[in-house]
Symmetry: C2
Subunit: 585 residues, 2 copies
């Protein structure tokens, strides 16, 4: 096996040319091997195997700087930069992350990367610092066509052109985002592909950039020739390469969206190893919204490049027709658009992962909330139980969203409450409303919930007790209930409260607790600092009420163990019960 | 006077054609009249007088929707939509804001607008809702060339093209941003102007949009003809009009940057009415950085379209040469770029207004802080004493920035401390550091400050006392000192602490206060919710320490009175002293 002998990019350079296609085969097999067992990104990586080998053949990684975008095409690079064990050795898969990471490889990875559209902008910083420090290395930014729809990529291109020195932007055009591409830009990319780069209009040239088109983006020799021509170039150039998403693995070529990312599967058949039959909030939300659309022709569901966050399969998108809008990976546009839609009389609902909400703080504050337009946002994976890669943490949503004036942020704790809130949010006309879809497995309380949340701040008493109150929201209400069970043995019957509004305190309820409660324990499925626990602590600051806030401490977390982090954060029934006992002593 | 009789756009339509240029003269004079007394945006408004009249002549505002961008060109529109009194009647100037506002004019203003690059994205929402509701009005987005550099504008264009129905984007190209334009896109705009829209490359057409060029952007008849051609068009089109910034007022034409915005001035001479000789932190910071650059060739100062935020005049920019970078209005690019620069060994400093920081939350979190690159950010006007328009509030910075892991946010309370922190921040290599430039007038304590802030969280005891502690930061340290003066009469000598790090608690100090203090009053020059006061309240939650948090309650504030808001927020020496007295009773 060649790959086992590739310890660094120098070994790629040293290979005889006639062995490069064998290397490509091995890199592809290694990627498939990893994702089939571990899960991960399939299509984008498979399509970028040849380009990666060519890049390492032409440039000198380490000295020359590669900046990937979102990292979904970085696996082949990892296999060639001393991390093949993470793809070949079944026992060591977890040692390698799914993302570009200088922590993992200080020499060959320039940035921790997991959000899209950042590579060119980051590369302009390397470009400028190289120039100012008087060095001469090549800066290579790699970006997929799908990522070009994000405004930061545009801003990066704009600045790169002005700086005017060496910067090579490799546009890896596999004709797909996660799902199909959307936006006027993609018409131009299609024209460029059809004309082999000679179309009348050229987005990149119009930005003041030099441009080269490479049709055979999965042919190593062609790519080596192309990259050879631009190496050490004295100005910025876009090398637009046409690749095939999923190249070399038939199922992934056939169904590109399904094979963008996957859980573990059988390579031979493409079948999932563990095709879970469990419910998930995304799919349930998608079905609900699709059904609602039929009653309400003004209901428009919006996604920013991730239709499956709310289970909108290609079939469901087709069924929704003009009532479903994918703006591409462009969260700022999504928020401005739903504000405009609500202003214009439509009923927009944007479904988004919590980690990507933060790409649009200003649009939430300015375009939406200052204007008070009644758009609805469903926030998925805003939970300690959500995604756990360092770049995809979703539990900073409450500090971020609850400091934006005029935003109502609801936090349901079960399926029934989620749907009651959704119904209200879509029908009301007064507030921008975000709903924090609960973390973890779907729970059904079986309860019936009122569908009026216009009394902003009104919390829900799950169980009336005395001496101690435990306040949770979403998944943590169940942890509070677990604590109450444990406390029975101590003769303590705490009050349990669901913090229905993450954005608003129920001051009346908090005040009433003073009469017969000594301590309030706040258990947040989220960040400690900036959470609603601190707001409650502030509320009781001058009173005798004790307040214990449990939540995740501010910090960087990467591929954490759910149970370890919950435990360390005091977010288990045991820890919550212990806090109550300790305070009542 | 014609303008006095224009009560609504219908009156503009009804005017004989030969009176339109007289109307333009009057509108221009009205704009000048207002800004000469009240201050405001000069150049962009004067350049858009003719276009505004033409828009109202061709379209039916109210039914057709105009969406301005950043609102710097919205004054002429205001004069024609029932708000001329705000430009003509000296007693009523304050009744009209400097920004587009549906609160002010529900019929003719579609959105509250004050941040750039939003108009097209917002307009796509109106476009989509019109289509889904089956209506047929024209949607007109108006955007300056300077605002096109922001990613949200690009995202909007991308989506507009895909939706494919009526949307008219008027690009008001006056060849300027606030200062000169920067970015590759502007080379293309120049080519389009030089060729009267016939250049080989065309950014807008490459985005899939139809396009029309109008050279005579200050000629009403030409504009009426052009807008007439696109009215009721069935697809999106960009109408690129070439205007003159400051048109009709010689000083503003001559020095476009100086006359972008101004404080009150004498119309005849162009001289400021009150040329303040007072110090300001921006200018002082600029001089400091320019001087430092000479010692440190790797120091690079970055701005995102607002060089004057840190006093970088055109002359200083020229002197700084390659050590000064203006990325245009593109805050995301700025943050990614400084991260890349710091990674590449340069010493970048980005100067930015607090209100625009929020345009880059994700880049701060992902591109910068996860990567831990040692870039420096100077945050201006992060204070209750900063800008007070609803769209420009700067005091939500602490909730936003302090919930981002790995960001150090320093809060100096005087000039000497600011400069000590700046020196440390630039020289250290471990942390992304933001510095909250104090609000209000420059204060000199005359003290010497250590230039080592590597002990993260270490607060500063301004004065040791007992029983009560008052914790402030920035401008509020002085309010705390004022409270201490008042408390002398009560025989109370409080401890006064400057919260040096807005991002980190000094837990050792907080713990030590328990020994001989009964109450901590936290006075924040900023937001109450999500501020450091709440973190302190959380810290003391289980102890007997009383905590009173004073800060500005979450809400929308527009053109507030500084003294009223400080008073209502408990941020005066009197209110702070009263809180101490009350707690010690």
């Amino acid at each position: 096996m060649l790959l086992e002998k590739i310890k660094s990019p120098a070994d790629v350079k040293a290979l005889p040319t006639d062995q490069l296609s064998k290397l490509a085969e091995e890199v592809r097999a290694a990627c498939l091997n990893r994702v089939s067992v571990h899960g991960g990104h399939v299509g984008p990586n498979l399509g970028f195997v040849e380009a990666t080998i060519a890049l390492h053949r032409v440039f000198s990684a380490g000295e020359d700087k590669f900046v990937f975008d979102v990292s979904h095409q970085s696996y082949p690079h990892k296999t060639l930069t001393g991390r093949a064990f993470g793809f070949l050795d079944m026992k060591r898969l977890d040692e390698v992350s799914g993302y570009s990471s200088p922590t993992e490889s200080p020499e060959y990875d320039t940035f921790e990367l997991g959000h899209t559209s950042t590579s060119i902008a980051l590369a302009t910083g390397l470009q400028k610092s190289r120039d100012i420090c008087g060095r001469h290395e090549n800066i290579v930014a790699i970006i997929g066509d799908g990522s070009l729809s994000g405004g930061e990529a545009f801003e990066g291109l704009d600045t790169a052109a002005e700086i005017g020195t060496n910067l090579i932007v490799v546009v890896n055009d596999n004709e797909m985002s996660i799902a199909e591409n959307h936006g006027g830009l993609y018409t131009n990319l299609a024209q460029l592909r059809q004309t082999r780069g000679k179309a009348e209009h050229n987005f990149f040239r119009s930005m003041g950039l030099d441009y080269m088109y490479v049709e055979e983006g999965n042919d190593i020799e062609t790519l080596i020739e192309a990259f050879g021509k631009v190496k050490d170039i004295d100005h910025p150039i876009v090398v637009h390469i046409h690749t095939e998403k999923g190249h070399g693995y038939a199922p992934a070529v056939e169904n590109k969206e399904r094979w963008h990312w996957t859980t573990p599967f059988d390579i031979a058949t493409g079948e999932l190893r563990d095709a879970s039959e469990g419910e998930d909030y995304g799919a349930m939300m998608g079905r609900y919204l699709l059904n609602e659309m039929k009653q309400d022709p003004k209901l428009v569901v919006v996604t920013s490049g991730t239709p499956m966050v709310a289970g909108f399969t290609p079939e469901m998108r087709a069924e929704a027709g003009k009532q479903f809008v994918d703006v591409g990976i462009a969260e700022e546009e999504a928020v401005a658009m739903i504000s405009g839609m609500a202003k214009g009389g439509a009923h927009p609902v944007w479904n988004v992962y919590s980690t990507f909400m933060q790409r649009t703080y200003d649009q939430l504050a300015q375009d939406l909330c200052i204007n008070g337009n009644p758009a609805v946002i469903n926030v998925f994976c805003g939970s300690v139980l959500g995604m756990n890669d360092i770049t995809h943490i979703g539990f900073f949503d409450i500090p971020m969203l609850t400091s934006i004036p005029n935003l109502v942020y609801l936090a349901p704790s079960c399926y029934e409450e989620l749907m009651a809130m959704e119904k209200w949010a879509i029908s009301q006309t007064k507030h921008p409303v975000a709903i924090r879809v609960p973390g973890g497995a779907v729970t059904h309380s079986g309860e019936t919930f009122a569908t009026d949340y216009s009394d902003l701040g009104k919390a829900r008493i799950v169980k009336k007790g005395s001496r101690a109150a435990i306040i949770g929201s979403g998944a943590s209400v169940a942890w509070a209930e677990g604590a109450a069970e444990l406390l029975k043995a101590d003769g303590i019957e705490p009050t349990i409260i669901s913090q229905t509004f993450a954005s608003h305190l129920d001051e009346g309820l908090l005040e009433s607790l003073k009469a017969d409660h000594e301590v309030v324990v706040v258990a947040e499925d989220g960040a400690l600092e900036g959470g609603f626990g601190e707001k409650i602590a502030r509320y009781y600051g001058l009173s005798r009420m004790k307040v214990a806030c449990h939540g995740v401490k501010k910090g960087l977390y990467d591929r954490y163990s759910y149970s370890d982090l919950l435990n360390a954060s005091g977010l288990t029934p045991e820890k919550i019960a212990e806090a109550v006992r300790s305070a009542l002593k």
